[in-house]
């Protein structure tokens, strides 16, 4: 059973559009029921990568609106609402029902609607005497955004800031953990699996894992649970493993410049919800769609940028050759002799040529699209010297140190302020020992370029905390330092980056967890099994090699991690499936902004000349 999250979510949405009746083989209902779809902003983000207007039409949806828009009555038509369960939406629904905008209302909430809101809705519609219009109320458990087959995001903003905020109280942290757990629960409900949960000790990962475990346990005990897998014959090899990590486990990935195609497009051009807007060649913004229906994107997303350019060339040449061949075949039959034996052959050629035209036009469109994107990217790279940033950062991480002149040269050279800040932070993370004079010169260079150094100060503070703790343990290169209780320190996991093959620490850890063999690195990790009774002690038979894994990163992830996890899955013998999810997908710049925010909150602004550790 390959876990294809995107397909499952699409199926659920299709069923919802079909008024929650099972969809038959042709995909359309027998009776012609034309409906109207109404969603809110969050659910619009869920729907737009998955469903096009064409598909909506196929399922009989004629109009689609935002719930906040001013809508006019359309009588005698059922309306399907797909919204988040919060107070504002309930108010709007009550207003709509009292105005009797539509014939019948089918309400679908993206996660479980809490009882008090349901009661509010009931009393509100009762008082306006329109309760008979509400025909159905459903919990859909779809509160997550799936971008690709194995990539999802909970679209919860600024979780890293909120979790690491020094002034955050217990209540707020609990709320955030609750939200993350509810999102993860929706993902698991859609996949209909109960995984085995593993997480490193301490920190938000442990909190989320234990809360999720509790929630799953409670849910499985209730009568009509959502996971209809049979109890006994599901061996441990069928259940996937869910690994939960916190961003502080590996900070560098969120910040560094990467030179592969997909991360570049996301980082530099701002890919959002699989959609991209770039300056077209003729001037004017063009908007492109980059998802799994684009064969070039799927095949070449993880190549380095120069290789991508070469690949575009190759595709273009192949296309030109094919077009020439088609021309030759059809052009040559003009005025050919009408002898009987060849006739049908000629017409067949003609038919083939005509049939292949749409395919050729499509290929040309894809090539044009990527040529445009690559051209814009090239412009940005040249202007910001992104290739040298990426290369130097990689060198730093591998070697652990960098020539001081190179460092300062890059800081004083080209590149936006954000690029320089990121480079400086990467230097800080990757250098094994803090050379005070170097750090000060770096800070001076940053201040010269008028860069806000609060993020830099924040990371420096984190690193200093880590250093003080690391000295207590024997810091071998592969040790993972334990978490502090309240302060989420940077673990020495960043040191794992210095392994020679430059694999992400996350990928290595996930590989070990999937294999399940006891290993000093992961022995400290906790195991939660919601199906097992509470008293059983870490049943060892559940630690066999897993076929499928779900990796969740709290605090923000990006396409670099996604790409490396996919590589890991492909590398395994036999090929495994890994789904990667995060609370939100952040570009390097966005993540550094969150760090800067934290720096401000801790009072480590640019005015602080020397921070004390």
């Amino acid at each position: 059973m390959a876990l294809n999250l995107r397909q499952k979510q699409t199926e659920c949405i299709t069923r919802m559009l079909n008024l929650n009746q099972p969809v038959n083989a042709t995909g359309t209902a027998n009776e012609e029921v034309y409906k109207i779809l109404i969603y809110d902003k969050f659910c619009q983000n869920i729907l737009s990568p998955l469903i096009r207007v064409k598909d909506l039409r196929k399922h009989g949806v004629t109009l689609y609106f935002l719930i906040d828009k001013d809508r006019k009555p359309v009588h005698d038509v059922p309306a399907v609402y797909f919204v988040q369960p919060n107070q504002a939406n309930i108010q709007r629904i009550m207003a709509d029902t009292s105005r009797s905008l539509y014939d019948s209302f089918h309400l679908n909430f993206s996660s479980s609607i809490p009882r008090p809101l349901l009661e509010d809705l009931a009393s509100g519609t009762l008082s306006s005497d329109s309760i008979q219009r509400i025909s159905k109320v459903h919990d859909q458990y779809l509160e997550f955004v799936t971008l690709e087959d194995g990539l999802f995001s909970l679209a919860q903003k600024s979780t890293y800031v909120q979790l690491n905020d020094p002034s955050a109280g217990d209540r707020e942290i609990e709320e955030i953990v609750e939200r993350i757990v509810s999102g993860l629960f929706c993902v698991l409900a859609t996949l209909a699996v109960v995984p085995i949960i593993r997480c490193p000790r301490g920190g938000p990962a442990e909190m989320v894992a234990s809360a999720l475990d509790q929630r799953l346990r409670d849910h499985l005990l209730s009568k009509n649970n959502l996971f209809t897998e049979g109890g006994s014959f599901v061996s441990s090899f069928q259940r996937p493993i869910l690994c939960i990590f916190d961003r502080n486990f590996e900070l560098a990935v969120g910040i560094q410049h990467d030179f592969r195609y997909r991360p570049l497009v996301h980082d530099v051009l701002g890919l959002r919800l699989n959609r991209l807007s770039v300056q077209g060649e003729k001037g004017g913004m063009r908007s492109y769609e980059l998802d799994s229906s684009d064969p070039f994107w799927v095949a070449n997303g993880s190549l380095e940028f120069p290789e991508v350019a070469v690949e575009i060339e190759t595709q273009l040449n192949k296309y030109k050759k094919d077009v020439d061949e088609v021309n030759r075949r059809t052009g040559g039959t003009d005025g050919a002799e009408f002898d009987g034996t060849d006739l049908t052959g000629n017409t067949k050629h003609l038919m083939n040529a005509v049939n292949s035209l749409p395919e050729l036009t499509e290929r040309k469109q894809v090539i044009d699209k990527h040529t445009n994107i690559a051209t814009v990217l090239l412009g940005e790279i040249k202007e910001r010297l992104l290739d040298s940033y990426a290369k130097k950062e990689n060198d730093m991480l591998v070697r652990g140190s960098i020539d001081r002149n190179e460092l300062l040269g890059l800081l004083k050279g080209k590149g936006t302020k954000m690029d320089k800040l990121r480079f400086a932070i990467m230097y800080l993370i990757s250098s094994e020992s803090i050379n005070q004079s170097e750090v000060e010169s770096v800070e001076a260079a940053l201040r010269e370029s008028e860069v806000d150094t609060s993020a830099f100060q924040y990371v420096k503070k984190l690193k200093s905390l880590n250093a003080s703790m690391a000295s207590a343990n024997s810091a071998s290169r592969n040790n993972i330092v334990d978490w502090a209780e309240k302060i989420y320190a940077v673990t020495a996991g960043v040191k794992n980056l210095l392994s020679s093959d430059r694999q992400l620490a996350l990928t290595r850890t996930v590989e070990l967890l999937i294999e399940g063999r006891p290993n000093p690195e992961i022995d400290g990790y906790l195991v939660f099994d919601p199906r097992a009774p509470k008293s059983s002690s870490g049943s060892s038979h559940l630690r066999g090699p897993f076929k499928e894994a779900i990796v969740f990163m709290i605090g923000g992830g990006n396409y670099v991690e996604y790409g490396s996890l996919q590589e890991l899955a492909q590398r395994q013998q036999p090929v495994k499936h890994v789904i990667y999810g995060t609370t939100e997908i952040l570009t390097g710049a966005e993540f550094v902004e969150q760090l800067a925010l934290l720096g401000h909150k801790m009072g480590l602004g640019t005015n602080v000349a020397a921070s004390s550790h």
Binding site: E31, V53, L63, L66, L118, D129
Partner: protein, 343 residues
């Protein structure tokens, strides 16, 4: 198991909702009476609007159901046409079914046109909301699209049928290669074929503005029939032997074949005309793969552009005001000078 698990990934809270409503209703039962008259007056004016809308809906659902039934019949026809046994050819059934489906499609076509007229007339008269208008337009478009795809399928089935006939012919030639027709027959048969092929090629030029596919497939089927006559001629030229008693049988069989082919061809012609009608109606409303949130961004961009334009205008207005003030002062100045000189 897959289907089961797919079903259960959502929860039905309707019962819970209704039980809460029951509870609340009991507690509200005393206070709900005054709401009676106001709600009834509201429902009066809604009822008239609902009546008009439901007429439209009824028709639309009837058409949709008709399209569904037609496509089912089409599936049956396709299955029949695919059968490649040479001797057991259900020609009669196929012809009946073809005629039936053609009738259905023509009827549905006119029904859709009627529906569109109804919705247009209703949109102009009466106070229907803009959303209802777009809803009904979309419904009509959707029905047109589905009818067009059904017609396309029908055309494909017919072309497949022609191909199969040709295959049958070839096989029949192989089987009955010992009994060839006499030399007079092919000429008798050849002329109708030649006349028909001339007719088909003459029909092809008047329809250059049709979609590319129907005309090419027409010419293809025309050429197929030409191609069909060629192997027949060749076969006849090769074989000298004749059997007189086989001739009348072959003759009638040939006639029926010719008839079947002619039927198919005329059906394709009529189909193409329907096709074109639909195409002209639907051509402007083709839906490219739009995303749900695309219009949003356009509107936002437009609004921002409008805002910018308004700001610019405001600036120009205020600067005009400055200009006017300056001119005013200059005039005052000249007035003073004038007064000085006069006074």
């Amino acid at each position: 198991m897959h289907a089961k698990s797919a079903q259960s990934s959502f929860r039905d809270r309707t019962h819970e909702f209704q039980s809460i409503a029951e509870q609340r209703k009991k507690s509200y039962s005393s206070g709900s009476v005054p709401n009676g008259p106001s709600s009834s007056s509201k429902s009066e004016e809604q009822r008239s609007a609902v009546v008009i809308q439901s007429e439209f809906n009824r028709r639309a659902s009837k058409i949709g159901y008709g399209i569904h039934q037609t496509s089912q019949k089409l599936a049956k026809l396709a299955k029949l046409a695919k059968r490649t046994s040479v001797f057991d050819d259900p020609t009669k059934e196929i012809q009946e079914l073809t005629a039936l489906i053609k009738q259905d499609i023509t009827a549905l076509n006119s029904a859709v046109v009627d529906l569109q007229l109804l919705s247009n007339s209703r949109n102009e008269s009466g106070n229907i909301s803009s959303d209802t208008t777009s809803h009904s337009t979309t419904v009509v478009d959707d029905l047109k699209n589905r009818l067009m795809s059904t017609t396309k399928e029908f055309k494909e089935v017919l072309t497949m049928r022609t191909e199969n006939l040709k295959v049958h012919e070839n096989r029949r030639q192989l089987f009955s290669s010992t009994t060839s027709k006499d030399s007079t027959n092919p000429f008798v048969r050849q002329r109708p074929l030649a006349a028909r092929s001339a007719a088909s090629t003459s029909n092809a030029p008047p329809l250059p503005w049709a979609n590319g596919s129907p005309s090419s497939s027409q010419s293809f089927s025309g050429k197929q029939m030409d191609g069909e006559s060629q192997p027949l001629l060749q076969h006849q030229q090769h074989h000298e032997q004749q059997k007189q008693e086989m001739v009348p049988l072959q003759d009638s069989y040939m006639q029926s074949r010719a008839e079947a082919l002619q039927n198919v061809e005329s059906t394709i012609h009529e189909l193409s005309s329907i096709f074109n009608q639909l195409a002209t109606l639907v051509s402007q409303q083709g839906e490219i793969a739009i995303r749900i949130d695309e219009n949003m961004d356009d509107t936002v961009a437009n609004v921002e552009g409008a805002q910018g334009a308004l700001l610019k205008y405001l600036n120009s207005i205020s600067s005009n005001r400055w200009l006017m003030i300056k001119i005013f002062f200059v005039l005052i100045f000249f007035l003073m000078v004038f007064l000085f000189f006069v006074a």
